[in-house]
Amino acid sequence: MEVLRIATSGSVDDGKSTLIGRLLYDTHSIPQDKMEALHAASKRKGLDFTDLSLLTDGLVAEREQGITIDVAHIYFSTPTRKYIIADTPGHIEYTRNMVTGASNAQASLILIDARKGIVEQTYRHFFIASLLRIPYLVICVNKMDLVDYSQARFNQIVEEFQQLLANASYQATEVVFIPVSSLYGENVATTNGAITWYQGPTLLEYLEQISFDHADSKHPARFPIQSVIRPRTTEYHDFRGFAGKVASGHFSVGDEVISLPSGQKSKIKTIEQFEKQLQTAQARESVVITLEDEIDSSRGNMLVKPEDQPQQLKEIKAQICWMDQQPLTVGKTYLVQHGVNRVKAKVQQLHYVTDVTSHQPVEGKASLGLNDIGSITLKTASPILADTYASNPANGAFILIDEFNNTTVGVGFIE
């Protein structure tokens, strides 16, 4: 069974929580006792209907403020697919959470209030989807009931959004627009006939048919070594296997591989998954690889194919989303963690900060603060084995760690 990861974002009150609640309700994902708790909570709030949005509001502080402030993960499944929704708040001050939530998503679900149309936050949500190059974009025009299910209004919003797409620096695999009413369940999982002029799929129908083309598998083969397994038992006396998760591409028994950065060559002897022997390991599979020859590789090294090697970068130019209260300091040393590999790096230069609305540099802004996105150059103490994010996302991103308090302060996308 496939797992589809979705990121959702929308401005406050666009109806995101209601939409997600509706998806859960319509897929029978809400247990009876939770449903009863919802009825009761809705009553306490003086509502005359069951407020499905209460399902996804997590923490106490948030309940008090009535807004979502972190990434919440929501799970449901249909007979064919398991879904993971990373639900993030839409405010500007939560840009970092949006980037976090979207970082694993194959589909981005952007909500637009039919009455308001495209607002400032829509630009940001779209910018984040394009920064992360999310393959599938699903634009839900919500609250259609409040605009009399008007086709003209819907088309107008679609047209406006097309303009955004035209100016973007990336092309999604697919972009769809769906007119919905979360409150009444129209076009969420089913259609109740309120919108006659729309013949396309409901939201759930669309999600169900998204094809997993596994872009990662088509990208160059990358196997970052997590650890070396050497049992040293009588039975496995000479066993020496490299444990890791295939980042991208695939590896087969007999393939010639080269270990970086040392450059030593060998051939794949076995690919093992516990007691099973595999012929091929695909992207995202956790396996143990053994080689024909004894080569000296360890954690942080990478097995690749000789004909398709990553860059060995000491100078990294990257888009950065900054995630810390303390702004990025030019000249300061941070730790770069690229996959499982950590190196020291110094910030050489901040080139510009990007305006997420126009996708253009902001004139005269010289510091990268919390929730800002900008372009920098880093110089690392030793090379990292990376691809550009655009050519191979699975090997083209890194995080920045503050050396002193150890927290994650930013994420970078290699250019």
């Binding site: 007979p79 997590q226 049992p231 730790l335």
Partner: protein
């Protein structure tokens, strides 16, 4: 639309869990696996076995024994440790009580569930464990939906929801300051059904109380409580025999039974799919208040 049962386990979850365990072993000096004897920690042990095969699991198991466990759970624990050749550390709440660090609760809702936090934190300090691997899942409860995979705790084991580190892609930052430690949740993205499908696919043994069996129970607050000497009962709470099973494995004082005839995994899974009651609905301690879980987490509860 009716619920069709999907018996297939999403393989991506196993690959992710193994990756997380390997990162834990590589990034920390002294990890430990918190073992409760329940299906989630049994799943963790299986993942660990696979992650380091043909090597040994490179960290011990830690069981906080409240003294109120189902005997079936303890039996199972010892069997598992023996058959896989694992290292097991047991620390008991009774010792913490004897040392005067915690006080036994009184009254009819008395349980040792809250007390085990102290025993756990002491054991972490004593063992100098910098990473504690746990089987919490984000689908269990609202507060858990926001938990990270590597979740940093301060010296007092406290979780600060607002200070969480962002976690991007599959990059895990396990760097910590002195005194801090990390809770690691490799099956964060699994649902209850995923766990059951995994147990079925892997053909794993689980404690017998998960399956329908006859036992003495009492009815209280609309829930079925297992009758035992640990439970404080009033005169009108008369035990009777009933065929039940348990959806989670906790203490005998705070785990409610469900009426069920399900004595095979397939029947259990079918029952879950009917989803009459959520899993945590069967944890009596959570019923106390909606924000109960979050409060306990701030206080260092697992």
């Amino acid at each position: 639309m009716t619920n069709q049962i999907n018996w297939e386990f999403p393989q991506a979850l196993e690959d992710e869990g193994i990756y997380i365990l390997r990162e834990t072993a590589a990034q920390f000096e002294k990890p430990v696996l918190l073992f409760s004897g329940g299906k989630d920690s049994i799943t963790l042990v299986r993942l660990a076995q696979k992650a380091f095969y043909p090597g040994k699991i490179p960290f011990p198991l830690l069981h906080v024994d409240t003294g109120h466990n189902f005997p079936e759970t303890i039996q199972f624990r010892d069997w598992l440790v023996e058959s896989l050749g694992l290292d097991l550390i047991v620390r008991s709440v009774q010792d913490s009580i004897n040392q005067g660090k915690v006080q036994e609760e009184t009254g009819k809702y008395a349980s040792r569930n809250a007390l085990q936090t102290v025993t756990l934190l002491d054991a972490i300090e004593e063992g100098k464990f910098d990473a504690c691997i746990g089987g919490a899942r984000r689908d269990e409860e609202k507060a858990r939906a926001k938990e990270r995979i590597f979740s940093v705790r301060d010296e007092f084991g406290q979780w600060n929801a607002k200070m969480q580190r962002p976690e991007l892609f599959d990059i895990l930052n396990g760097k910590i300051n002195i005194g801090e430690n990390v809770r690691v949740f490799p099956i964060s993205n699994w649902t209850e059904l995923d766990v059951w499908n995994y147990i079925r696919r892997e053909n794993l043994q689980i404690p017998s109380i998960y399956f329908a069996h006859e036992r003495e129970i009492i009815e209280r607050d609309g829930l079925y409580w297992p009758y035992s000497s640990y439970l404080n009962t009033s005169a009108d709470e008369v035990p009777f025999r009933q065929t039940v099973r348990f959806r989670t494995v906790g203490d005998m004082t705070c785990t409610a039974a469900v009426l069920s005839e399900a004595d095979k995994l397939e029947d259990i899974i079918a029952e879950i799919m009917e989803a009459k009651i959520s899993e945590r609905g069967a944890r009596i301690d959570d019923k106390r208040s909606e924000a109960a879980m979050e409060k306990r987490k701030q206080a260092g509860y697992f």
